[in-house]
Symmetry: C2
Subunit: 575 residues, 2 copies
Amino acid sequence: MLWMLYRWPCGALPGCGVLSAPEPTVQSLIFRLRVMAPHWVSRWPWWLFRASPGWRQTACTLRAWVEPRRWPGSFQGAGVASPLARRGCSSTSSRLPAVVLTQERCAVQRLPFSTVSEEDLAAFECIIPGRVTTDPEELEAHNVDWLRTHRGCSKVLLRPRTSQEVSHILRHCYKRNLAVNPQGGNTGMVGGSVPVFDEIILSTALMNQVVSFNSVSGILVCQAGCVLEELSRYVEEQDFIMPLDLGAKGSCHIGGNVATNAGGLRFLRYGSLHGTVLGLEVVLANGTILNCLTSLRKDNTGYDLKQLFIGSEGTLGIITAVSILCPPKPKSVNVAFLGCPGFAEVLQTFSTSKGMLGEILSAFEFMDAECMQLVGRYLHLACPVQESPFYVLIETSGSDAGHDADKLGGFLEHLLGSGLVTDGTLATDQKKIKMLWALRERITEALSLDGCVYKYDLSLPVERLYDLVTTLRAHLGPCAKHVVGYGHLGDGNLHLNVTAEAFSTSLLAALEPHVYKWTVDQQGSVSAEHGVGFKKRDVLGFSKPPEALQLMCQLKTLLDPRGILNPYKTLPSRA
Amino acid sequence: MLWMLYRWPCGALPGCGVLSAPEPTVQSLIFRLRVMAPHWVSRWPWWLFRASPGWRQTACTLRAWVEPRRWPGSFQGAGVASPLARRGCSSTSSRLPAVVLTQERCAVQRLPFSTVSEEDLAAFECIIPGRVTTDPEELEAHNVDWLRTHRGCSKVLLRPRTSQEVSHILRHCYKRNLAVNPQGGNTGMVGGSVPVFDEIILSTALMNQVVSFNSVSGILVCQAGCVLEELSRYVEEQDFIMPLDLGAKGSCHIGGNVATNAGGLRFLRYGSLHGTVLGLEVVLANGTILNCLTSLRKDNTGYDLKQLFIGSEGTLGIITAVSILCPPKPKSVNVAFLGCPGFAEVLQTFSTSKGMLGEILSAFEFMDAECMQLVGRYLHLACPVQESPFYVLIETSGSDAGHDADKLGGFLEHLLGSGLVTDGTLATDQKKIKMLWALRERITEALSLDGCVYKYDLSLPVERLYDLVTTLRAHLGPCAKHVVGYGHLGDGNLHLNVTAEAFSTSLLAALEPHVYKWTVDQQGSVSAEHGVGFKKRDVLGFSKPPEALQLMCQLKTLLDPRGILNPYKTLPSRA
């Protein structure tokens, strides 16, 4: 198998500063090398190849877990579990401090639902014998979200295996006016997957069967509780991949992915779940099974009802099965990590990558210099390229390694020649690709070690993406320790993070609603991929007009007239 | 610019019959040629290159129009306008025989809407001065669909320019209980775009402004009445393409495309409009403007309301503006036209194309031998390859012509070597690509010249796609002149057509509900891409369970409580 890891120091070229375009020198060198070794240098200059010295050190410092700490308020605090660690229920531990009940931390009133009685438990036991849990210790992991910011006090966990069982459960709950919290892998970022009060937790964990896979069309049909990573393995054995990939893939359920309209790392290439999900089976609040589980690429027979449930966070129905289109597995994957002299160059690099890499471009991520400093300081991950104001991570996935290397070679040569990047490194084998991805994926972890973190997940027009970070640095001054920006540039998705020594209401007041207002002024979205859940339900109005909020409430009333499905989530509390 | 048009006669190889795998001979030839001319023959054997003799004749016989005839019943009759002709309102002409009023041809009762009064006309004139049409001659083109199967008797045509005007009009109609038929380019296939009775026609023709185009992200925002072809031209000037392409592109409006969830030729590559449409502005039945016109790739703030309107055929709201993601323009396009010895080989060719062409595969169409015979007989288009039981058209679109040719070369070599195809031709320049596409696109026209045509647009699991054609041939026997199958194999979309000398109720009875039942038995869909409209509303129940139909009706009632928007369409008449 082919692999390369090399680095080219732009500054090492005669007469070639970090910010200047080294075109003539590069071209003449390439020309000379072409003459000397035509096969090797048709695209790639020899002098670019050099093993990165930082990787040995980096590998030693890779840690999968850091001690979490508690944090107040509605923002995410320091010391969360590593995003590289296995997320979900298993992340709780007796070593960790208790999480305050959401109902105590936040101004929220319990709605007038019934409470679970002995008769209810007997009814559930009848429907799913042996799979009704009331043990407080076992329930603990299901009452707290993986970020350890939200905690409910549910007394019952139900683990159905079939849609019929879910239907019987909901029919009972609907009749009895019992609130239900659907739960997949419990890996959500906005407190949507755990109860706020004593809602019954309905876990999809045992609904984990693959129904069918068509190896011609690549269409997978499976139950909602299948773990994403297991599905990935399953389809990869048949030369396909899942159209989505997430840090939480080891725990998250496909049903939860669909319910939260998860974005993730393959979004740029394979698009939204609204396009790749072909069918859903959903159990409605009253127990009706809505079978829209077609496994067809095209189906224009009436309203596309499944779309209603994608991203509705379990508030309109419980997804019990998913039909999804899997793309063929790419035969070649490359990752380039580059240093850029400014954000304008980051944008130009993105534009150029779309033109020159075309159909093989599969990710375009960026991070600023402060992110890299934090990753270096706290996680001892060495920057594999020359220090730069910005870094981009570009992934390509294609069906021909030679063609991909050729395209990427031409592209990188152009970037270097035009001064858009000042330094770069490339990895083609799996281990080194993961190392480069770690620089981007472990920023969250590094930030959490820097103090108290105020986190925002924003969608913005790509050309204004970084302006908010710059504006905010000036706006906050010394109140903040760090104001950093990184994220999925290719999707226009900025992860804006502000750190401080400790929680401060004045800093929070300086941030909110300023950040949301700024975002709205740019026609952005206050939640790009994390959803609304419990945490963001009262900022929804920043991104959606009153007419849209009203229609959302009407849809909720139509589909769940008693409001028993995942209450206190997604819709504004005032609605 | 590179271009090639060549043909390889498999039978011309020694010891190589049409159905046998010529592997050893081909390989030895390639090997010998590689030694002789290593650059040229690294992938493509020289002897494959030969100009196709049929093209001169083909070019002379390309016709854009055939005289239409009338046909009875609910199926499409013979002699429709060529799909290559400019569709829409302009297709009507004084030379053509009148189309029977839908209300006379079909058992349908007018719902108790008000009729347009002088006061209503005055109110409309106030809202859109000079753009209220009551001239019967001008209205004629808007009352009849382009297939000339449906005809309404509307007395008023309104042509608003802005969403506000649409809002004012609907507010008035809602108050007055006046039914409204939204109309784009009037290019629909199922009678959804014309009135059934005297509904007011609200045309989007003057809402044809581009609002913005972001040349970094490729996001286009425009009014609903922009013609697809004009948008294509606009974005192509900036090195992007529209994510959809249709035969009707010269007339169809982007708003209509979205309202009908149009599929088309780029579906295989760029997917459904549910994935590529980023935002919509919609005017609801009561005049409320619902602004979900975000131009962001990611936006997880609440329910994705725009999805409700994609494919709802104007029955839930009138789309007034669209935000859509445009892919970068491919730098290289190739089309291969191949003969396959059987449908099993067609399927294997499809599987192989996904693996070997990967990210550059952009269309995979098929047609059977009878289609080719009809195209030859009626349109004098010569088959560019050896006679075969099946033909496939494969299109690639990529960012590097050399790489694409290399991939396609390797793929075709493999097909030929393994006996999956017996003959083939390849085109890389625009003119010849269009000629190959014409063979596939003009089948409808050829069928219409063969007599009375019974047309079905079905979505089926790809491995069962052709079984229906075979089954039906046996089932119908000599009652049918021809039973043919063709379509978008890559999308699992079969266009099944049956021709007969004249309309026959017994043939219709032998076809329906047999075709629909067979489709449902294979978990297929009775409408893949054409939608429901007026024509298919009563077969919807074949593909959707009662629970889904009920929810559709509830959504209609929620969004359009008086049912004024495009009545008699999309939902079953019994609902």
